[in-house]
């Protein structure tokens, strides 16, 4: 028989680790992979130029993984994002290059168009109950085809300078006038921002713990909190320092950072996020609880379309040309990032932080293997095995627990 336990047990560090093994395991895996490639590439990986490249190369995967995670948590999948990337990239190129429209109009317009593309697919999934796999497989073909049509099989470029800076530009050094070591630190602002963010993170972490104490909610063990904060601070400041000795923050890093913060907030604190998780966990129960599951599904696809459009423009600007072949196979990287990050294929489970770390694990592997001169053959092979291993780790843990 069940015994009543009203007292909340205080967990030991070991128990806490076991309960949260997934998240820490992922972070540890990322660090291990980074160190591994740092050694193997003879220290190239952490060089300021390469770190900047790593961010530029992966930003669009991370951005799309945010939307994909919501779709996967809702219990669906989106195979069409690679094609949407090419399609919106192509549209932006036509408007900017052929028609000469200013980017301040083109960028929002393309985001809206991306939303419409998402809506066109979301409609079939949400209201006609066609499996997302089929709808977005169709979408993948349709939008790839449309891209070839509108671009007439030819790449379009180059883009105006101001549009390019969206993707390739850097945040200027607003604090250069007080730079104490202009020889090593070329962008003081970025370093200061990193330090400020770390201080804020520690402050709010402590505040949150105090609040939890006041409400009688259990906190993670303090030693753990301290160690975690310590590691994050050291890593963040190291990376910030490296970036500051090159050109500082890439613009896309700022965009990406803000989006990660926004989506973390949405998934953990907002009613919309909560409802998406509930819907993915048990759609019928969610519906009978008064949640408009059709509308919610529809909006997750609209959201994905907007993010894919943003990614499409970032890629076009980075390559300085829109090609019909842009984004081929991106959907697989994005989906893999979510699953490596611990999302469940049956819905209801997954975290933004997991998907972001998953995306960076993929990115670091891509980058590291490229530096080592391994071909696309080995890269694909290794990525496939890592995906399988990560998901096996999940299944294994679940069965054991």
């Amino acid at each position: 028989m069940v015994t009543e336990t009203t007292t909340q047990s205080t967990q030991s560090i070991g128990e806490y680790l076991r309960a949260n093994i997934r998240e820490y395991g992922l972070l540890v895996a990322l660090v291990v992979i980074m160190v591994f490639f740092q050694v193997l590439t003879g220290g190239v990986l952490f060089r300021p130029v390469n770190l900047t490249n790593l961010i530029l190369q992966n930003s669009f995967i991370v951005i799309m993984a945010l939307g994909m995670l919501l779709i996967i948590v809702a219990g669906h999948i989106d195979l069409s994002v690679g094609s949407i990337v090419a399609f919106t990239g192509g549209l932006s190129a036509i408007m900017l290059v052929k028609w000469g429209i200013h980017f301040s109009i083109v960028v929002p317009l393309c985001l809206v168009l991306g939303g419409l593309v998402g809506a066109a697919q979301g409609y079939w999934v949400a209201y006609q109950k066609i499996p997302a796999f089929i709808v977005t497989l169709a979408g993948m073909l349709v939008f790839r085809g449309l891209t070839y049509l509108i671009l007439e099989n030819r790449p379009i470029g180059p883009f105006p300078k101001d549009f390019q800076s969206l993707s390739t530009g850097f945040v200027p050094d607003f604090l250069s006038f007080i730079n104490p070591m202009p020889e090593t630190i070329t962008n003081l602002f970025s370093l200061v921002v990193v330090v400020v963010l770390v201080v804020l993170a520690v402050y709010y972490g402590l505040k949150n713990r105090a609040e939890n104490d006041r409400h009688g909610t259990e906190n993670e063990p303090f030693a753990f909190f301290a160690a975690q904060m310590g590691i994050i601070a050291v890593v963040a400041i190291f990376l910030g320092y490296q970036l500051s000795t090159y050109k500082g923050f890439p613009n896309v890093l700022v965009v990406m950072g803000l989006l990660i913060a926004l989506y973390t907030f949405v998934t953990t604190r907002s009613t919309i996020g909560r409802r998406i998780y509930a819907m993915g966990g048990n759609e019928k129960a969610a519906k009978l609880s008064g949640i408009n599951t059709e509308r919610l599904t529809f909006y997750t696809f609209v959201n994905m379309g907007v993010l894919a459009a943003l990614a499409g423009m970032i890629i076009a600007a980075r390559l300085n040309s829109a090609t019909p072949k842009a984004g081929v196979g991106f959907e697989l990287d994005v989906i893999a990032a979510c699953f490596i990050g611990g999302a469940s294929a049956s819905g209801g489970v997954g975290k933004i932080t997991g998907a972001v770390i998953g995306a960076f694990i993929m990115g670091v592997m891509n980058n590291g293997m490229s530096i080592m001169g391994l071909g696309i053959d080995y890269q694909q092979l290794v990525k496939g095995l890592v995906l399988l291993a990560a998901v096996f780790f999940d299944v294994y843990n679940k069965n054991k627990g």
Binding site: S270, Y277, G281, N282, L288, G290, N292, G348
Partner: protein, 511 residues
């Protein structure tokens, strides 16, 4: 007929932290129908899983003797091989395959992997004749009713040369006629010398067919009753199951009935799938403040469909009729509107329709009324936790904390979480659909107590239940439904098992 076909000696089976079976002994004679009864969690299913090899030898203590030999089953196929076949409550048939394919699934009549269809169909026909089915062997499972599906399962058991047939709640989802047919079949098999073990909660059926009744309680054997030596009453069995007399099965309540809260008039609904078939006909009823109103009826009478069609039109189509709250017409065309109108519906299927099982108590509690713990779409964590802890205490939900996943809770506690969710929407009328299904007696009492409290607070309760004693014990007024119609309305004084059954039978003659 004195030879023992099965003897389980001192079986003890422990799960981490729980002793599911404690020194259980169980003897079955060849050729008898032996009933195994007990509350949920008493250990019936665990015992049968030990017997059939789901829990392999070595994972339990004790001995199993079958047909005179000590047996140690490592897998289910070990036990099936010597004629022990178990039919689970959830049928293991593939809906889109034919009867013949299902019967020989995993056991195909084949040579080098090529199926001999002619023989398969011929043998299936013979087997179906034995269980009294006339369906062609090529009929798809999805095209026959649950009652016939149950018979197909039995035919499948026969194909495996069954000697000891174990049926786990075989009639739980069958209507009266199908149940009777099934029980007759078991008695027919008994004549032919087959042995059966039947697990059931339906004591009247057990009385009808069983030779022996073994009662389990809290993982131990209480007693084995011989139905031929003495006349065993249902109360006698219940006494054994709960360990005390069940006079106080229902907590007392002084009804304080107020104004009419919910009134439904001329409610007509067509079937969800068979769209040209009218399912509910001119349903009229009302629920008053502080009143517990029951809806009695057989399986398929349209009770759940009535509730769901009113609750945001979540069942059926071409729905016509009027719903009033406090005498004013209200719009219940979507679930959010029905909730706003003051309705709540606690489903009969809490695992599939009631809870997000992979989520915790906290998140399930606030799911229907997230707005109340958030501002501008942002959830206030502390407020949410306070609400969930509150309900956990008030409804005495037994759990480690509000962070426990609902999948790990017992049936009674899961039901309390569903109740918390709906109570948090602050409804005026709660529709409870089989609120105590699959819950043990102790937890039932707690649910009844909650219902009484809600009535005392002035809420209206509409309770659908297939257990007539439960309706009689808790309701102030009972509507009887049959074939999509309300066929009687009985006051507490008029209501009895007989008067309810009479109302159902009479209406059946009329239509």
């Amino acid at each position: 007929m004195d030879n023992i076909i099965l003897e389980m000696r001192s079986i003890t089976k422990t799960f981490p932290g729980v002793k599911a079976l404690d020194n259980v002994s169980f003897k079955v004679r060849e050729g008898e129908i032996h009933a195994l009864v007990g509350e949920n969690g008493a250990g019936k299913s665990t015992l049968m899983k030990v017997l059939s090899g789901v829990y392999p030898a070595g994972s339990y203590e004790g001995e199993i003797h079958y047909a005179g030999e000590l047996r140690q089953f490592r897998t289910i196929s070990d036990s099936e091989h010597i004629g022990i076949i178990i039919i689970h409550q959830e049928l293991a048939l593939v809906p889109l395959l034919s009867i013949a394919e299902n019967i020989y699934l995993g056991n195909e009549i084949a040579e080098k992997g090529v199926i001999n269809w002619k023989q398969t169909f011929a043998r299936t026909k013979e087997l179906l004749a034995k269980v009294g089915l006339k369906e062609p062997p090529a009929t798809l499972i999805t095209d026959i009713g649950v009652g016939k599906q149950q018979l197909v399962e039995i035919a499948k058991a026969l194909s495996k040369k069954v000697r000891l047939l174990i049926l786990d709640e075989p009639t739980a989802s069958l209507n009266e006629t199908d149940s009777d047919a099934l029980l007759k079949l078991l008695m027919e098999f008994r004549k032919q010398g087959m042995t059966s073990i039947i697990i059931s909660h339906k004591l009247n059926e057990i009385k009808k067919v069983a030779d022996k009744i073994t009662i389990l309680r809290d993982g131990g054997t209480v007693e084995t009753l011989d139905c031929h030596n003495e006349d065993i009453s249902e109360d006698r069995i219940i006494k054994g199951m709960v360990g005390r007399d069940m006079e106080d099965r229902y907590p007392p309540r002084e009804p304080k009935i107020g104004e009419t809260l919910l009134e439904v008039k001329n409610w007509n609904v067509f079937h969800q799938q068979h769209r040209d078939r009218q399912f509910l006909h001119d349903v009229n009823f009302n629920v008053r403040a502080g009143e517990v109103v029951g809806i009695a009826g057989l399986m398929g009478a349209g009770r759940t469909e009535t509730a769901m069609s009113i609750f945001g039109k979540s069942w059926g189509h071409k729905i016509t009729g009027d719903v009033f709250m406090h005498g004013k017409p209200v719009d219940v065309s979507t679930i959010p509107k029905a909730i706003d109108a003051g309705l709540a519906y606690v489903t009969e299927d809490r695992k599939h329709l009631g809870l997000v099982l992979i989520d915790n108590i906290l998140h399930n509690t606030t799911l229907s009324n997230l707005e109340a713990v958030s501002s501008a779409g942002v959830i206030n964590d502390h407020e949410e936790r306070r609400v969930a802890s509150d309900y956990r205490q008030k409804l005495r939900i037994r759990s480690h904390s509000i962070y426990q996943e609902t999948v790990n809770l017992s049936g009674g506690n899961q039901q309390k979480v569903v109740l918390s969710k709906w109570l948090f929407t602050n409804p005026e009328v709660l529709i409870l659909d089989e609120p105590t299904r699959g819950i043990d007696v102790g937890a039932k009492y707690e649910i009844y107590t909650i219902i009484n409290q809600l009535a005392a607070e002035g809420k209206g309760i509409l309770m659908i239940s297939s257990e007539m004693p439960e309706l009689l014990g808790t309701c102030d007024r009972i509507y009887v439904m049959n074939e999509g119609r309300i066929v009687a309305e009985l006051s507490k004084a008029e209501a009895s098992q007989e008067s309810i059954m009479r109302a159902i039978m009479r209406s059946g003659e009329k239509h």
